[in-house]
């Protein structure tokens, strides 16, 4: 029996992986070849998807990108035994893009069958949870604190500190809420992990529950991810059936369960208090802080709200110890960040690296430059609220503090590449338009200011009283920055002002004339 791997990841499917899997099954049947097709997660080498792997000679060999019409010739070439073919890429793990990564959180993604408990166990699964079950809650929290893990959703708040607050809160009912509302353009690491290694998230949430004393977890998943929803629902059911969730987690006598909830197309619900409102059945309107959700969160109870990537990093920390994770990274940014190369990029995909890597390395050594073959002009790091980075800053290490120093942010690690055809005034306008579209309406700067921002930029584009309009834009951004209730209004000035600062010529002014 030959084992063939074809991904069930959304991006692989979006490029035709389903038809490739069907073609392989049909061809195998016709030839009488005994083939088991495993639907794995994606390796994250999206320019090679649909990627087909075979197990031969004790290793995984890759072919890609495979179209249904290539399947007959792959069989002709004896690909089941690793035969030579124009699409052959050699051993998957030796592909430079993968070999040069530091895959901690994504160690299993693409390697295993996401819904196989045996596969998960065989690749180190549940060991972190088993270790946690032998520890006192405070000791679990200390391990996470010592690892240096910070919130991967974008705010980079120390995860251990948040957990310690929830642990110390006196309440009978506490909650773990996983923020899987991955709405930033250019980000897909949460999606890839949920589709490619869902038990890892479940294990991380169970450990979080033990650490803070919560017995119920919710995953708030955006409705734009139908494939992740199907896989997560199946994984939760399997984990419960196997006793890793429920009244007796891993035979410990301690309870933790997870319910999957779907969002409904509101970007603002990625903001943690709006998310909690939505989970409670209301409009996603942000809450004032304090009280912190850690003390009064879901249904008024102490709640740890963590991003998918944060929770998925936890099993490894509990398995290998805090020092193992902390030894990656630089400064106060410890561990790895799964970066996502997106937009106009030749080799787009997932690159998990320790903090400290630069855009030059990611965009050129990994990404291979633009898809269009044109020069890179601007890169947006950290989603729609992240700053635009010009090539002159591509050598700044990707580290929370270093990016803060240049008026930028890492956010969730999304990197969106534009070539020299981009109009940065139009992108600044888009940032304001997006803010207006997604504003929850709670605070005036965001609700009204974003619409005024679109109008101001339209007048700049039309060269109507440009200098005065740019002064007005500065003032408006200042109000948004300091007067908004949450990061949506508060950070929309980042892409707007960075576009203006680095690309003033697109706004009709010389670079020396305007320095906000």
């Amino acid at each position: 029996m030959s084992r063939v791997f074809v991904s069930l990841d959304t991006s692989a499917l979006a490029l035709g992986a389903e038809r490739v899997a069907q073609a392989i099954a049909a061809e195998a049947k016709q030839r009488g070849a005994a083939v088991e097709i495993v639907r794995n997660g994606s390796r994250g080498l999206f320019w090679l998807e649909p990627l087909v792997e075979v197990e031969a000679g004790g290793q995984r060999l890759a072919y890609g990108p495979v179209a249904p019409r290539d399947v007959a010739s792959l069989f002709e070439a004896g690909f089941l035994a690793g035969g030579a073919h124009a699409l052959a890429l050699g051993p998957t793990q030796d592909i430079a893009y993968l070999a040069r990564q530091e895959r901690l959180t994504f160690a299993r993604v693409g390697l295993t069958d996401p819904l196989s408990l045996d596969d998960y166990r065989a690749h180190g699964g549940w060991r972190g949870l088993e270790n946690a079950l032998a520890l006192a809650p405070a000791a679990i929290v200390r391990e996470v604190t010592d690892s240096g893990l910070r919130g991967r959703g974008g705010a980079a708040f120390p995860a251990g500190t948040k957990w310690e607050t929830v642990r110390g809160a006196g309440a009978k009912q506490k909650y773990i809420v996983c923020n899987a509302d991955e709405g930033d353009s250019g980000t897909f690491s949460d999606r890839m992990l949920m589709e490619g290694d869902p038990f890892c998230l479940i294990e991380g949430m169970a450990i979080a529950g033990l650490a803070v004393g919560a017995t119920q977890g919710y995953i708030y998943l955006r409705s734009e991810y139908p494939q992740a929803a199907r896989i997560l629902a199946a994984a939760i059911a399997k984990a419960r059936e196997a006793g890793w969730l429920g009244a007796d987690v891993g035979g410990s006598g301690r309870a933790f369960d997870i319910e999957l909830r779907l969002g409904a197309g509101a970007y603002i619900c990625g903001e943690e208090t709006a998310l909690l409102e939505s989970l409670e059945g209301r409009r996603g309107i942000v809450r004032a802080k304090p009280p912190l959700p850690a003390l009064a969160g879901l249904f008024g109870r102490p709640t740890a709200v963590n991003n998918v990537m944060t929770l998925a990093a936890v099993p490894l920390i509990l398995e290998r110890g805090a020092a193992y994770y902390r030894d990656y990274g630089m400064g106060r940014s410890r561990g790895t960040l799964p970066f996502q190369l997106a937009g106009n990029i030749r080799h787009g995909g997932l690159v998990e690296k320790a903090f400290g890597v630069t855009l030059n390395e990611l965009l050129h050594d990994f990404g291979g430059g633009t898809l269009s073959g044109r020069p890179i002009r601007a890169v947006q790091v950290g989603g729609p609220l992240g700053a635009w980075i010009p090539p002159a800053q591509f050598d700044v290490p990707l580290d929370y503090e270093r990016y803060g120093e240049i008026g930028a942010m890492l956010g969730h690690g999304g990197i969106v590449v534009f070539d020299d055809g981009v109009d940065m005034l139009r992108m600044a306008r888009h940032a304001m338009e997006f803010c207006a579209e997604e504003s929850c309406g709670k605070c005036t700067p965001c609700r009204i200011g974003s619409t005024r921002g679109v109008e101001v930029l339209d007048r700049v584009a039309a060269n109507r009283d440009r200098e005065a309009q740019l002064a007005l834009l500065d003032s408006l951004c200042d109000t948004l920055l300091h007067g908004s209730a949450c990061a949506l209004g508060g950070m929309t000035p980042y892409p707007v002002l960075s576009a203006l600062r680095h690309f003033p010529e697109d706004f009709g002014i010389g670079s020396q004339d305007h320095a906000p």
């Binding site: 959304t10 991006s11 499917l13 979006a14 490029l15 999206f46 320019w47 998807e49 991955e182 709405g183 930033d184 353009s185 250019g186 980000t187 897909f188 999606r191 409705s223 734009e224 991810y225 139908p226 494939q227 992740a228 909830r261 779907l262 969002g263 409904a264 197309g265 509101a266 970007y267 939505s278 989970l279 409670e280 059945g281 209301r282 409009r283 996603g284 249904f299 996502q340 190369l341 997106a342 937009g343 106009n344 990029i345 787009g348 995909g349 898809l371 269009s372 947006q380 729609p384 999304g414 969106v416 590449v417 534009f418 070539d419 981009v422 992108m427 888009h430 997006f434 579209e437 997604e438």
Partner: protein
């Protein structure tokens, strides 16, 4: 695909009331209930609002406010298929706005509208998580990547000939 599931034959009020009752004990039940109703009826019909409000002990205004707040929920059934075009930055970097313009021409309608033959409702979406393989579309429950005008026309022809 949800969009091709048949509309239940009769007594939607009774069915909605049953769904509402089945969800009533769930903490924060409103969104799960709205999803369940829309999955079955392809929209949240106006007549559902008082039934939901009664079952969950909410005012009709609260229910209406939630339906209106979230882009996913709709009060009227869409065309036979729903096509969402990603308008977010990563897809813009590889030509999403050109696809949007092409789609408007090909369908003869804009966003939040349905083509004259009733086959396709066009909607904007901000990110489908397929950002390394854009421009991206969602056709009912499937994501399609690397869409150009020719690919869009092929998809459209398939949708128009499908039931």
């Amino acid at each position: 695909m949800s969009a091709s599931s048949p509309r239940p034959p009769d007594a939607p009020d009774a069915r909605i009331a049953a769904l509402a009752q089945a969800h009533a004990a769930l903490p924060g039940a409103l969104l799960p209930l709205l999803h369940a109703i829309q999955d079955e009826f392809r929209c949240i019909p106006d007549e559902a609002v008082p039934l939901i409000a009664a079952a969950l002990n909410l005012s009709r205004a609260e229910v209406h406010g939630v339906i209106g707040f979230y882009r996913h929920f709709r009060s009227h059934a869409p065309g036979r298929h729903v096509v969402q075009i990603c308008r977010a930055e990563a897809c813009q970097a590889v030509g999403a706005l050109e696809i949007e313009a092409h789609a408007r021409r090909a369908l003869g309608c804009g966003f939040h509208a349905t083509s004259a033959d009733g086959s396709v409702t066009l909607e904007p979406v901000y990110c489908l998580g397929n950002c390394a393989c854009g421009p991206s579309l969602r056709v009912d429950d499937e994501i399609v990547g690397r869409v150009d005008a020719r690919r869009f026309d092929e998809l459209l022809a398939e949708l128009r000939s499908a039931p």
